[in-house]
């Protein structure tokens, strides 16, 4: 029997973001009151971020398969075939809220998270992009956010050593209270060298890798529970600090580890690190997982089980180890001066069992944590279409040259050099097109192939008509890839919207997905990974609907690529398309 020192009050349930009916579902599932640690685990697994409870139903409608798709959505990143036994691995993910709270660290850890998603699968990151939206340029917070976010993206990616070859920057007053930071990473792997999170084999060691665990990111919920726990001596910041130096070592150590044959399954620790990673590995493999928290490397004293399970400390991974390779695996991590600790074991009882200081502090059905998460079919309404604007009703500019100048000089159209020069776009020596072209291009090292990447969406189109705007984002991305001479292969999406509990916002979301789906089907351009960020709202006003699309295309011969510069005086200029 689990000891329960803390009464689970409705207030506590609410502060964990769980609705009364969701809590009832927990009671029904486990047949007793959860411990505080268990409540924390449920709240982490069942929040919007982890469970996709509002969006799942609609995401299922997207086309995700195709002749080149090796792995679609559901893993850390999507995987597509690029020929010669090689695959491209990529994904985009948001770090919006953390970046608004602490722009440098929020953006930095966003980049760190997406890089980890890619190399957890066994791929070496070879290109990055970032899609950024800020409030009005003259809003008092904008300057601070822009400079912090851009420095943070660069600070992490530059030190890690991945070239940043593209992205977007937009300004609009609807982002005044919610900036968007969407980070994309692309990695390269061998087709037979892909690693998954699905645990296999009973009684195998579960190993903790990387940096130590602190109380990072636990703040919000911890503070809510502070009244029960006087060991929390000060209000702790909830901000996670990124350490690209550790991440770079983790990359090299993981790739060495994978090459050694020691890895049976591996998963990075992202949001609610230990909880989500362990549950996912077990549930996917139809196995139970037992963790002993006394073995977890910690950097702070007196951490509770609750804090360890919810910590979002960065640069950590969990893996199931081939026991015969333990010594070799340990030596690799020792060489890179990283933590390596056996913290648990796989079991056949489908339980997620946590021990701390000799006591069982959580004992839950592992599959239900994911499978039984609530799923909503939220009511939605088709957003009203604005009345069409006829060209005749818009007065032409008195001075066309002046209008051109002010357009080129506007914050959304001006050169982005001031941003992308803060990013290392050349490291690795394979960059064929730095930012400033239609797509960034990197060579597939050791071959004559190239990969092109582009990130696109025009939020004001999506605001006017989310269906058409969603379609347009896909089409623009596809066009940017083809414009450099690449064959578009597949895309990832980052769907940033307001509060889905409002039917009109849910309607934007639904219509945008329908539009994206239609365009992707028409273009044979499947979505192989993605991320949803909802509740981007301040004072009841949502952001512009912003479904960012990042696509990847293949250039079979990188020398046959096109760039945007006019080459020779006297050349004919053609306009193609509708």
């Amino acid at each position: 029997m689990l000891r329960n020192d803390i009464e689970i009050t409705p207030d506590l349930v609410r502060s964990h973001g769980l609705k009364p009916d969701e809590y009832q579902r927990i009671l029904d599932l486990i047949g007793r009151e959860p411990t505080l640690t268990e409540l924390g685990i449920f709240s982490a697994m069942w929040n919007e971020h982890c469970s996709y409870k509002s969006s799942k139903r609609w995401l299922r409608t997207l086309p995700t398969t195709g002749p080149k798709v090796v792995i679609g959505p559901g893993e850390n990143a999507g995987v597509v075939d690029i020929g010669d036994g090689q695959v491209a691995v990529f994904k985009m993910e948001s770090h919006n809220h953390p970046s608004y709270i602490e722009p440098y660290q929020g953006a930095a850890t966003g980049v760190g998270g997406i890089l980890r998603d890619v190399f957890t699968m066994g791929a070496r990151p070879i290109a990055a992009m970032n899609a950024l939206r800020f409030g009005a340029p003259d809003h008092p917070k904008t300057r601070h956010l822009v400079s912090g976010v851009v420095a943070g993206v660069g600070g992490y990616g530059n030190a890690f050593g991945v070239p940043t070859v593209g992205g977007e920057v937009n300004f609009h007053t609807r982002y005044d209270g919610n900036c968007l930071v969407n980070a994309f990473a692309l990695g390269l792997a061998n087709r037979d060298g892909i690693f998954l999170s699905e645990a296999k084999g009973v009684g195998l060691p579960v190993v903790y890798l990387g940096a130590k665990t602190g109380r990072d990111g636990v703040g919000g919920a911890t503070m809510a529970s502070a009244e029960f726990d006087d060991t929390i001596e000060e209000k702790r910041p909830t901000v996670q600090v990124g350490d690209p130096f550790t991440e770079k070592r983790l990359l090299e150590a993981c790739l060495e580890l994978m090459a050694s044959g020691a890895v049976i399954a591996i998963q990075d620790m992202g949001a609610a690190g230990l909880t989500c990673s362990a549950v996912e590995m077990g549930a996917k493999g139809d196995l139970g997982i037992e963790l002993d928290l006394d073995k977890v490397p910690v950097r702070e004293e007196r951490m509770t089980a609750y804090e360890m399970m919810l910590s979002e400390s960065q640069e950590r991974m969990l893996m199931v180890l081939e026991p015969a390779k333990e010594a070799e695996a340990k030596a690799i991590f020792a060489k890179w001066e990283l933590d390596f600790a056996v913290v648990g074991v796989t079991t056949d009882d489908l339980r997620f069992r946590i021990r701390h200081q000799g006591e069982v502090v959580a004992d839950l059905p592992i599959k239900d944590l994911g499978d039984q998460a609530p799923e909503y079919d939220r009511p939605w309404t088709v957003p009203p279409r604005p009345a069409p604007l006829h060209a005749a009703d818009v007065p032409g500019p008195a001075d066309v040259a002046a209008a051109l100048l002010s357009m080129i000089g506007s914050p959304d159209m001006a050169s982005r050099r001031w941003v992308f020069e803060q990013y290392d776009s050349l490291v690795q020596g394979n960059t064929a097109q730095i930012p400033g072209g239609d797509s960034g291009i990197v060579r597939v090292d050791g071959t004559t192939k190239g990969l092109a990447v582009s990130a696109d969406v025009t939020p004001r189109y999506c605001e006017a008509d989310p269906f058409e705007g969603g379609k347009q984002a896909v089409a623009e991305c596809w066009r940017n890839l083809t414009a450099v001479g690449a064959d578009p292969i597949a895309a990832t999406d980052n769907l940033n919207f307001g509060n889905p509990e409002k039917p009109e916002i849910m309607g934007q979301f639904v219509m945008a997905i329908k539009g994206i789906g239609e365009a992707c089907r028409a273009l044979d351009f499947p979505i192989v990974s993605g991320n949803v960020s909802l509740y981007n709202e301040t004072h009841g006003r949502g952001i512009l609907p912003t479904p960012a699309i990042a696509g990847v295309g293949l250039l079979p011969e990188i020398d046959k690529r096109a760039s945007i510069a006019f080459k020779t005086a006297g050349d004919a200029v053609l306009l193609v398309g509708g």
Partner: protein, 223 residues
């Protein structure tokens, strides 16, 4: 030409450097781990770019105290050529193998862009292939490239022709004193420079201006 590239935890241009050395000299360099205490028998030792030890404390500071650096120092004393690019330059100054220090860029921001370099001394083992007065294109990518030295050191560097490269045509990206982009030790066998010639050596990079540096070393060592 036999060469070695030292890899520190946090190095990130060691592969770029190895590729450049291989492409220009025809022989791949040996990669040496920073915890090693000896270097193989080579003609050139390279400290590559990156963020060794995260550039925590000061850029290059912790790497400069790595076990391998005693061996680098020894090789340098024997006259073996040593090249430090970007973080490698920072490490060489921190190790005292080159004078001065690399401070935060005057603009305080990381800067990745192409600059112009003038060859300030074409009579060195690292610059010979360019010819006197040459101006070349070269990318930079750094946060701490603002070269500083006290006036006496500076006078000595200038007087002895130990400035190898200068930022030209108003392209100084970081506020370096006297537009200094690269300097030599007094024997002319150790070069530190902030720009990345290894990232401009083939058509894919949009130019080959960086090759001259490697060609200079190859020719010198062949002679």
């Amino acid at each position: 030409m036999k060469s070695a590239v030292v890899v520190f935890p946090g190095s990130n241009r060691e592969r770029d450097m190895a590729a450049a050395l291989t492409k220009v000299s025809g022989t791949a360099p040996m990669m040496v781990w920073h915890q090693d205490t000896t270097l193989p028998d080579v003609d050139l030792v390279v400290l590559p770019g990156g963020f060794s030890y995260g550039d925590y404390l000061r850029s290059g500071a912790i790497a400069a105290r790595s076990p391998i650096m005693a061996a680098v120092r020894e090789k340098a004393a024997e006259g073996v050529r040593v090249l430090g690019v970007c973080n490698g330059f920072q490490i060489l100054t921190e190790a005292g193998l080159l004078p001065g220090a690399l401070m935060r860029n005057a603009g305080l921001k990381f800067v990745c862009r192409e600059v112009k370099l003038s060859v300030a001394n074409a009579d060195t083992d690292f610059t010979r292939a360019y010819g006197a007065g040459a101006v070349l294109r070269c990318p930079v990518a750094h946060h701490d490239g603002n070269y500083f030295a006290d006036p006496e050191t500076l006078a000595r560097l200038e007087g002895d022709g130990r400035v190898a490269f200068r930022y030209a045509d108003g392209t100084n990206p970081n506020g370096s004193v006297n537009d200094i982009a690269g300097i030599l030790n007094d024997a002319g066998t150790v070069l530190g420079m902030m720009p990345h010639p290894e990232n401009l050596i083939e058509a894919l990079h949009g130019g080959t201006d960086g090759r001259g540096l490697f060609e200079s070393v190859v020719t010198t060592l062949a002679a």
